[in-house]
Symmetry: C2
Subunit: 334 residues, 2 copies
């Protein structure tokens, strides 16, 4: 029921997903509304509907699904994962309400103190995973360490690489550069056994030098939104310039394939959504303006998340890091 184009595009995306991937989808929302959308479907194989009477609106607070709207679709989704009836859930609705439900109802992975929202951005060669992009503000070094571990496993899955290069967002490349938070975090990340490549500058998000960029949710959110707006601005300005004269219009027509190619490269919907890492089970947060393709891809990501047991891998690694810390502090005390 959430998102600018719900329920139409959401249902359409779910139908695309079940036709393309070996996945079962439970559509959660006001049943009669959802069924009406499903009427066009040729087959309802692998589609189920679960009724949820309430809808969390964009104006609602993040706590609505826990208090006033306990029967909202997003809360019911979290319930289904928590009860083991679903492996993961996908939402294009109120972001705060989505992650509050996931965190409170599904619970955190043991040893992880905060969830992180991980966004996939295009870079010059491929893609970069940036996290956290807004689930937390005022992070501490051990939170950033958790983000690094979670980003590592998620990047392994989505990018298909064994040892993703993990960078710490800072200013200046050298270890001593940055603010109080990054200086301390740098020291901590060196001890993780991950493929930590040191500080990443703002430019490294887009130049393809790193696979995972770790930062606190405040800065990640600002960078994400600034990047989105910059992209829209450039595209708007170019469109304006391209339609200013007849030769330019003809040129634009001849080069249409080039613009389409670029658009596809920059298209957020290819990756469908950003996972909320750190919660038990999968939770994929989609852009409010998600279309069917974005939803379909988000379902693919959710499936991969469950199949690859990302949350178990995260837990094992975090437990291991905690144990090693315990050992070294025991040693230090002896």
């Amino acid at each position: 029921m959430g998102g600018d184009h719900a329920p139409h595009e959401i249902v359409k995306g779910a139908l695309l997903a079940v036709s393309e991937y070996p996945v079962e989808v439970i559509l959660v929302g006001q049943e009669e509304v959802v069924r009406k959308e499903l009427a066009v479907a040729e087959s309802l194989r692998n589609i189920e509907v679960v009724d949820a009477r309430e809808v969390v609106e964009m104006e609602d607070t993040a706590l609505a699904p826990l208090r006033r709207k306990r029967n909202s679709s997003v809360r019911v989704c979290a319930n289904l994962v928590s009860e083991g009836r679903a492996d993961a859930f996908v939402s294009a609705g109120n972001t705060g309400a989505t992650w509050t439900s996931a965190r409170a109802v599904m619970g955190m992975i043991e040893g992880v103190s905060r969830p992180a929202l991980a966004a996939i951005l295009p870079n010059a060669n491929d893609h970069t995973l940036l996290l956290d992009v807004g689930a937390n503000v005022d992070a501490k070094p051990n939170h950033l360490r958790e983000f690094a571990v979670m980003g590592h496993f998620y990047a392994q899955m989505v990018f298909g690489i064994e040892a993703p290069r993990v960078g710490l967002l800072s200013i200046g490349e050298e270890e001593g550069k940055g603010n109080e938070l990054t200086k301390e975090t740098f020291r901590v990340l060196k001890e993780t056994g991950l493929n930590f490549v040191g500080n990443a500058e703002g430019r490294d998000i887009y130049n393809g030098n790193v696979d995972v960029v770790v930062c606190d949710g405040f800065i990640g959110n600002v960078v994400l939104k600034a990047s989105e707006a910059l992209g829209e601005m450039v595209s708007g300005l170019l469109k304006g310039e391209m339609t200013r004269s007849l030769p330019r219009k003809v040129g634009a027509l001849l080069a249409k394939g080039a613009f389409d190619g670029l658009k596809k490269r920059m298209d957020y919907s290819e990756y469908g959504g950003a996972p909320l890492l750190g919660v038990k089970g999968g939770c994929i947060v989609c852009h409010g303006r998600s279309n069917a393709k974005a939803i379909k891809n988000a379902i693919r990501i959710a499936r991969g998340f469950a199949m690859n047991r990302i949350d178990e891998k995260i837990q094992t690694k975090i437990t291991d890091l905690h144990a090693r810390e315990h050992d070294s502090s025991v040693l230090a005390r002896q």
Copy 2:
């Protein structure tokens, strides 16, 4: 002597500036090298050369001009301003060394605790001033307040508007949104008497909703570098797409004016450089890859800075804010 294209482009830019604006330029550097570049000039009216034997390299630390290289061009520039022989100086060299020299030799404006580097970025309608973009990390609310005051006066001058809209970079628009720093700063900025329009999100840097965006130097630097890299990435990808087939190449040729228009719109060199606000006298920090046009424009900005007595305006406003604070704390004690 500083910058990727020094001294050639620097000297060329200075010659352009004296021919276009009523300004006198003192070129500071190894005299024989500078004179050689000047040999092509038709006239040396309003051009002077001051010898400085040493050169701060990019590898030198920010403290080099204060310690080992006291006769470096950047240090001599700061001396000239400090002695009143120049109103402002322009440098495309080592950024850290530039602002260390300015700060230490020229001194801070009374009442200002930290300098801030202010960058002008294109937005959908016009331009946005973003500060600080890297002179400080770990700022406190009163530092951000100083940045807001300094940004206000600088934006008045460069944008020619009476009451620039000042926004505080945060996540979420409402007062309660953000991290510890922005929440406290929001409260402080409301009391400044500036045209404070509240929180600005990452997107507001580029959508034209605000004229001045205030943030700490860590995040400002990350956003600036990420934006630069994103712009380069898009331009690189588009170039690749445009040359992939003959029709596209023809299209690109027909639409060349459109790309040139966009390029001009995004061109950092139009504003030449970023002022280091908060020091006594002017200091304009240019991009390392500045060409003659960027240097010419930086000199124009330096001239405007001096003519508009920006530093005096900043000092008056800061003194006023401190006095009001003192009054209200006296009142509170009574």
